[in-house]
Protein backbone atom coordinates (compact mmCIF):
# COMPACT_ATOMS: atom_id res chain seq x y z
CA UNK A 1 0.00 0.00 0.00
CA UNK A 2 2.06 2.90 -1.26
CA UNK A 3 -0.81 5.37 -1.50
CA UNK A 4 -0.85 8.03 1.22
CA UNK A 5 -4.27 9.28 2.21
CA UNK A 6 -5.27 12.13 4.45
CA UNK A 7 -7.05 10.71 7.51
CA UNK A 8 -8.99 12.95 9.88
CA UNK A 9 -10.18 11.63 13.23
CA UNK A 10 -13.05 13.80 14.41
CA UNK A 11 -13.59 14.00 18.17
CA UNK A 12 -16.80 15.69 19.28
CA UNK A 13 -17.56 13.83 22.52
CA UNK A 14 -16.45 14.24 26.09
CA UNK A 15 -14.28 11.56 27.70
CA UNK A 16 -15.38 8.96 30.33
CA UNK A 17 -19.17 9.38 30.04
CA UNK A 18 -18.89 7.20 26.95
CA UNK A 19 -16.00 5.20 25.50
CA UNK A 20 -15.71 6.96 22.14
CA UNK A 21 -12.78 9.21 23.10
CA UNK A 22 -10.76 6.27 24.40
CA UNK A 23 -11.48 3.93 21.50
CA UNK A 24 -10.80 6.77 19.04
CA UNK A 25 -7.33 7.11 20.56
CA UNK A 26 -6.79 3.35 20.14
CA UNK A 27 -7.54 3.68 16.42
CA UNK A 28 -5.16 6.62 16.10
CA UNK A 29 -2.32 4.68 17.74
CA UNK A 30 -2.80 1.63 15.52
CA UNK A 31 -3.32 3.81 12.46
CA UNK A 32 0.02 5.54 13.06
CA UNK A 33 1.79 2.40 11.83
CA UNK A 34 0.23 2.82 8.38
CA UNK A 35 2.22 5.91 7.39
CA UNK A 36 -0.77 7.96 6.34
CA UNK A 37 -1.19 11.73 6.68
CA UNK A 38 -2.99 11.89 10.02
CA UNK A 39 -4.82 14.81 11.64
CA UNK A 40 -7.07 14.94 14.69
CA UNK A 41 -9.93 17.41 15.08
CA UNK A 42 -11.27 18.38 18.51
CA UNK A 43 -14.47 20.39 18.44
CA UNK A 44 -17.70 20.68 20.39
CA UNK A 45 -17.42 18.49 23.52
CA UNK A 46 -14.35 16.82 22.01
CA UNK A 47 -12.19 19.65 23.35
CA UNK A 48 -12.87 18.30 26.85
CA UNK A 49 -10.72 15.26 25.99
CA UNK A 50 -7.59 17.41 26.19
CA UNK A 51 -8.11 19.10 29.57
CA UNK A 52 -5.23 18.79 32.01
CA UNK A 53 -5.51 17.47 35.53
CA UNK A 54 -7.88 14.60 34.78
CA UNK A 55 -8.04 12.29 37.79
CA UNK A 56 -10.29 9.25 37.43
CA UNK A 57 -9.36 7.52 40.70
CA UNK A 58 -12.74 8.01 42.34
CA UNK A 59 -14.85 6.88 39.39
CA UNK A 60 -12.74 3.79 38.78
CA UNK A 61 -12.25 4.29 35.04
CA UNK A 62 -8.85 4.17 33.41
CA UNK A 63 -7.27 7.60 32.93
CA UNK A 64 -6.09 7.67 29.32
CA UNK A 65 -5.34 11.38 29.10
CA UNK A 66 -1.56 10.91 29.20
CA UNK A 67 -1.79 9.08 25.89
CA UNK A 68 -2.47 12.35 24.08
CA UNK A 69 0.99 13.54 25.14
CA UNK A 70 2.51 10.39 23.65
CA UNK A 71 1.02 10.97 20.21
CA UNK A 72 4.13 12.82 19.08
CA UNK A 73 6.15 9.62 19.50
CA UNK A 74 3.83 8.04 16.96
CA UNK A 75 4.36 10.96 14.59
CA UNK A 76 0.82 12.15 15.13
CA UNK A 77 1.51 15.86 15.38
CA UNK A 78 -1.53 17.73 14.04
CA UNK A 79 -4.19 18.21 16.70
CA UNK A 80 -6.63 20.86 15.52
CA UNK A 81 -8.63 22.41 18.37
CA UNK A 82 -11.56 24.71 17.65
CA UNK A 83 -11.39 28.06 19.41
CA UNK A 84 -15.16 28.68 19.49
CA UNK A 85 -15.73 25.29 21.10
CA UNK A 86 -13.27 26.18 23.87
CA UNK A 87 -14.83 29.61 24.45
CA UNK A 88 -18.39 28.30 24.71
CA UNK A 89 -17.14 25.91 27.38
CA UNK A 90 -15.30 28.59 29.34
CA UNK A 91 -11.92 27.13 28.41
CA UNK A 92 -8.69 28.54 27.03
CA UNK A 93 -5.58 26.86 25.70
CA UNK A 94 -4.17 27.07 29.25
CA UNK A 95 -6.77 24.58 30.44
CA UNK A 96 -5.51 21.97 27.99
CA UNK A 97 -2.54 19.67 28.32
CA UNK A 98 0.73 20.77 26.83
CA UNK A 99 1.19 18.38 23.91
CA UNK A 100 4.43 18.54 21.97
CA UNK A 101 6.36 16.66 19.32
CA UNK A 102 9.98 16.66 18.24
CA UNK A 103 10.40 18.08 14.77
CA UNK A 104 12.87 15.81 12.93
CA UNK A 105 13.32 18.41 10.21
CA UNK A 106 14.26 21.12 12.69
CA UNK A 107 16.95 19.49 14.82
CA UNK A 108 14.31 17.73 16.96
CA UNK A 109 13.04 20.99 18.38
CA UNK A 110 9.99 20.53 20.59
CA UNK A 111 6.95 22.07 18.96
CA UNK A 112 3.32 22.29 20.04
CA UNK A 113 1.01 19.67 18.50
CA UNK A 114 -2.15 21.62 19.29
CA UNK A 115 -3.14 24.02 16.56
CA UNK A 116 -5.82 26.43 17.68
CA UNK A 117 -8.15 27.13 14.73
CA UNK A 118 -11.33 29.10 14.18
CA UNK A 119 -14.55 27.33 13.22
CA UNK A 120 -14.05 28.43 9.61
CA UNK A 121 -10.51 27.08 9.60
CA UNK A 122 -11.77 23.80 11.09
CA UNK A 123 -14.23 23.57 8.20
CA UNK A 124 -11.28 24.01 5.81
CA UNK A 125 -9.34 21.25 7.57
CA UNK A 126 -12.33 18.92 7.27
CA UNK A 127 -12.78 19.71 3.58
CA UNK A 128 -9.16 18.81 2.87
CA UNK A 129 -9.34 15.10 3.79
CA UNK A 130 -9.65 11.79 2.03
CA UNK A 131 -11.06 9.79 4.93
CA UNK A 132 -13.00 11.21 7.87
CA UNK A 133 -13.55 8.90 10.84
CA UNK A 134 -15.94 10.21 13.49
CA UNK A 135 -16.09 9.20 17.12
Amino acid sequence: MSEVKKFLYVNRKAPYGTIYAQESLEVVLIGAAFDQDVSLAFLDDGVFQLTKGQDTKEIGLKNFSATYRALGDYEVTKLYVEKESLTERGLTLDDLQNIEYEDEDDDYAEKPSIRLVSRAEMADVMADQDVVLSF
Binding site: V10, R119, S134, F135
Partner: protein
Protein backbone atom coordinates in the same frame (compact mmCIF):
# COMPACT_ATOMS: atom_id res chain seq x y z
CA UNK B 1 -17.78 17.82 -5.40
CA UNK B 2 -17.43 18.65 -1.73
CA UNK B 3 -18.49 16.65 1.28
CA UNK B 4 -21.62 14.66 2.05
CA UNK B 5 -22.43 15.20 5.72
CA UNK B 6 -24.85 12.92 7.54
CA UNK B 7 -26.69 13.87 10.73
CA UNK B 8 -28.59 11.22 12.69
CA UNK B 9 -29.71 13.02 15.85
CA UNK B 10 -32.81 14.99 16.65
CA UNK B 11 -31.98 18.72 16.52
CA UNK B 12 -34.44 19.32 19.36
CA UNK B 13 -32.32 17.29 21.73
CA UNK B 14 -28.82 17.55 20.35
CA UNK B 15 -26.55 20.27 18.95
CA UNK B 16 -25.12 18.08 16.18
CA UNK B 17 -27.15 19.48 13.28
CA UNK B 18 -26.19 23.03 14.25
CA UNK B 19 -22.52 22.08 14.46
CA UNK B 20 -22.71 20.37 11.07
CA UNK B 21 -24.38 23.43 9.53
CA UNK B 22 -21.66 25.65 11.00
CA UNK B 23 -18.93 23.56 9.32
CA UNK B 24 -20.52 22.78 5.95
CA UNK B 25 -19.08 24.63 2.98
CA UNK B 26 -20.49 25.82 -0.32
CA UNK B 27 -21.07 22.83 -2.56
CA UNK B 28 -21.50 20.40 0.35
CA UNK B 29 -24.64 18.38 1.03
CA UNK B 30 -26.27 17.41 4.32
CA UNK B 31 -28.35 14.24 4.53
CA UNK B 32 -30.57 13.80 7.58
CA UNK B 33 -31.10 10.16 8.59
CA UNK B 34 -32.48 8.18 11.57
CA UNK B 35 -33.63 10.60 14.33
CA UNK B 36 -31.93 13.37 12.35
CA UNK B 37 -34.91 13.49 9.99
CA UNK B 38 -36.91 15.51 12.53
CA UNK B 39 -34.71 18.42 11.48
CA UNK B 40 -36.25 18.41 8.02
CA UNK B 41 -39.71 19.56 9.10
CA UNK B 42 -40.94 23.12 8.61
CA UNK B 43 -42.50 25.27 11.29
CA UNK B 44 -40.35 24.05 14.17
CA UNK B 45 -38.02 25.80 16.58
CA UNK B 46 -35.01 24.75 14.48
CA UNK B 47 -36.27 24.98 10.89
CA UNK B 48 -35.12 28.60 10.63
CA UNK B 49 -31.52 27.58 11.41
CA UNK B 50 -31.67 24.90 8.75
CA UNK B 51 -33.04 26.90 5.85
CA UNK B 52 -31.27 30.19 6.55
CA UNK B 53 -27.77 28.77 6.77
CA UNK B 54 -25.47 31.09 4.87
CA UNK B 55 -23.58 28.54 2.82
CA UNK B 56 -24.80 27.06 -0.43
CA UNK B 57 -25.47 23.61 1.03
CA UNK B 58 -27.90 21.10 -0.48
CA UNK B 59 -30.29 19.55 2.04
CA UNK B 60 -31.55 15.98 1.85
CA UNK B 61 -33.57 13.69 4.08
CA UNK B 62 -33.85 9.91 4.00
CA UNK B 63 -37.49 9.24 3.10
CA UNK B 64 -37.51 5.80 4.74
CA UNK B 65 -36.68 7.34 8.13
CA UNK B 66 -39.20 10.12 7.59
CA UNK B 67 -41.99 7.63 6.87
CA UNK B 68 -41.07 5.48 9.87
CA UNK B 69 -41.54 8.48 12.12
CA UNK B 70 -44.88 9.50 10.65
CA UNK B 71 -43.70 12.83 9.32
CA UNK B 72 -45.78 13.76 6.31
CA UNK B 73 -43.65 14.65 3.27
CA UNK B 74 -45.86 17.77 3.02
CA UNK B 75 -44.37 19.03 6.28
CA UNK B 76 -40.82 19.21 4.93
CA UNK B 77 -39.04 22.54 4.98
CA UNK B 78 -38.47 24.34 1.65
CA UNK B 79 -35.40 23.17 -0.17
CA UNK B 80 -35.15 19.76 1.48
CA UNK B 81 -35.15 16.85 -0.98
CA UNK B 82 -36.23 13.35 0.04
CA UNK B 83 -34.10 10.42 -1.16
CA UNK B 84 -34.27 6.65 -0.73
CA UNK B 85 -31.32 4.39 0.24
CA UNK B 86 -30.20 4.23 -3.41
CA UNK B 87 -30.23 8.03 -3.46
CA UNK B 88 -28.10 7.94 -0.27
CA UNK B 89 -25.61 5.71 -2.11
CA UNK B 90 -25.56 8.10 -5.06
CA UNK B 91 -24.92 11.09 -2.79
CA UNK B 92 -22.03 9.25 -1.13
CA UNK B 93 -20.54 8.31 -4.49
CA UNK B 94 -21.00 11.76 -6.02
CA UNK B 95 -19.21 13.65 -3.23
CA UNK B 96 -15.48 13.51 -2.55
CA UNK B 97 -15.86 12.26 0.99
CA UNK B 98 -18.50 11.44 3.62
CA UNK B 99 -18.40 12.96 7.08
CA UNK B 100 -20.77 11.38 9.59
CA UNK B 101 -21.70 13.72 12.42
CA UNK B 102 -22.20 11.30 15.29
Amino acid sequence: MGTLHTVNKSPFQNQTLLSCLAHAKDGDAILMIEDGVYGAASGTSVSEALTSNGADVALYVLGADLAARGIDAGRMADGVTSVDYEGFVDLAADHDRVQNWL
